[in-house]
Symmetry: C2
Subunit: 275 residues, 2 copies
């Protein structure tokens, strides 16, 4: 039987950083099972005491101390939470010391900086980029491609939309996408709407059986979801990418994060907003 | 003059975790200026050597060693990068030791787990949630509200759309949004389309002058962007939220991450996918 542990992500902010780091670490221990609990906005000593009670209760119920991944800016609140019965790992605490010595100054310990609106321009950029991704999502509004940093090409359900939205939110990229239709595929050349933007094109492809699986969920037992159709579309699209010199990526084994990072790296598009 | 430092985020994966943690830490040092460089997918000794060269070059040009935030799973590659002239901080390296002792097993050091597609269900859920957010974005498709985990209410440009998309991508939440029109506001009650879903409603509000600033960018010098109109819409919406018992949040000082985390916490909606 697998060892089970409750894992807490505790922060005086959103907890997203603690969750991201913590999960990255926990994936390295795949013989254990983890029950995750996020406690965001623990920004006072009172809330910290409530958190301690929850952690201690989990320790008691499970018969093993929980792991607590924390990102506290406020040292007083952190010191309360660390009294809980747990393995307490604070990401800020561990690295602020070396950074302070390096920069020879004390950190400001300013709450809420990490994900606060420190820069209205960056905020507006993310929103504008997201709206751009939504407005240029289906190949219908191709007149806005002039403003696009990149245009993703691919057959239906190859991962274009979530990748565009993710790049907009996380990187501030203006990403359009153009779904390759049967007509485009039969034609075998770059669709006229995207042909003028060759340097900004990037193709997404996917294993036909995986595509079938995804489409099957959307329109069960349709021609659209048949393996034969998926196979034809994918092979024809890949041939077009190769023939037209459009760089492309097989997304079958990729997460959205990885697709986005690889596309931006390959096209040399820099991050416009910090994560 | 501010001290300047080049900062590298280096990883054998996307680098997103290193960027997130690194930026959180750097915001604590606001008297310095940082030039960020991300080097993702450093997954071989050859690529690691290239990274070392880039770091050393930056050290030479700047006359100060760069800070390197790293998340390496592969110890061999990590050990090459750490030979660069830099302050080397590896998030995995620092915490895997304590976790290994706690769990009394060696970590698997399996590359690409953190953001790999380990779970096709989670991947499909994020995509479905994103599509749901896009399809239920403008108040036009209200027939799908039955499937919504929550429905955000607010005036135009109060932050609804990016929040819904972010929640879909990062939490797997099915989030719809309904823009309050002048007609709804004059009516003063919950719009009929959302009234049946009272427990799932959440309002977003914003300071009128900030709203004006955002709208001004979209439609300069329009009635829509006038301070008078913004002020009237915001005050009327807030009165409706209060009267109808709809919880609401002032987003003026909030990032998208924070809005999402606060809304989900308040409505008690759990994370459906890990970050």
């Amino acid at each position: 039987m697998k060892q089970r542990r409750t894992v807490f992500f505790v922060s005086d902010q959103t907890g997203v950083t603690a969750e991201t780091m913590g999960h990255s670490l926990l994936t390295q221990f795949d013989s254990l099972e983890f029950s995750p609990v996020t406690l965001p906005f623990i920004s006072s000593v009172d809330k910290a005491r409530d958190a301690v009670n929850r952690i201690n209760l989990a320790a008691q119920e499970q018969g093993a101390r929980p792991v607590v991944f924390a990102t506290f800016v406020d040292a007083e609140v952190r010191d309360v939470v660390r009294t809980a019965r747990c393995l307490f790992l604070d990401f800020f605490d561990a690295f602020l010391g070396p950074l302070e010595r390096e920069f020879a100054e004390l950190s400001t310990h300013a709450l809420g900086r990490a994900h606060g609106v420190t820069d209205i321009r960056a905020y507006a950029l993310r929103i504008n980029a997201t709206n751009f991704a939504l407005a240029n999502d289906d190949g219908a509004h191709t007149h806005d491609y002039e403003r696009a940093d990149l245009i993703l090409l691919g057959v239906s359900r190859s991962g274009k939309t979530p990748t565009c939205v993710y790049m907009a939110m996380q990187y501030g990229t203006f990403a359009a996408n153009y779904p390759l239709t049967d007509e485009d595929l039969l034609d075998g050349r770059l669709p006229p709407a995207v042909a003028p933007f060759r340097a900004r094109l990037f193709g997404l492809t996917i294993a036909p059986d995986r595509l079938q699986q995804i489409r099957q969920e959307r329109r069960p037992d349709s021609r659209y979801a048949s393996l034969q159709q998926c196979d034809w579309e994918v092979r024809t699209a890949e041939r077009m990418f190769a023939k037209e010199g459009v760089p492309f990526l097989d997304t079958t084994e990729c997460s959205i994060e990885e697709i986005a990072a690889r596309v931006l790296e390959r096209l040399g598009i820099p991050r416009r907003v910090r994560p």
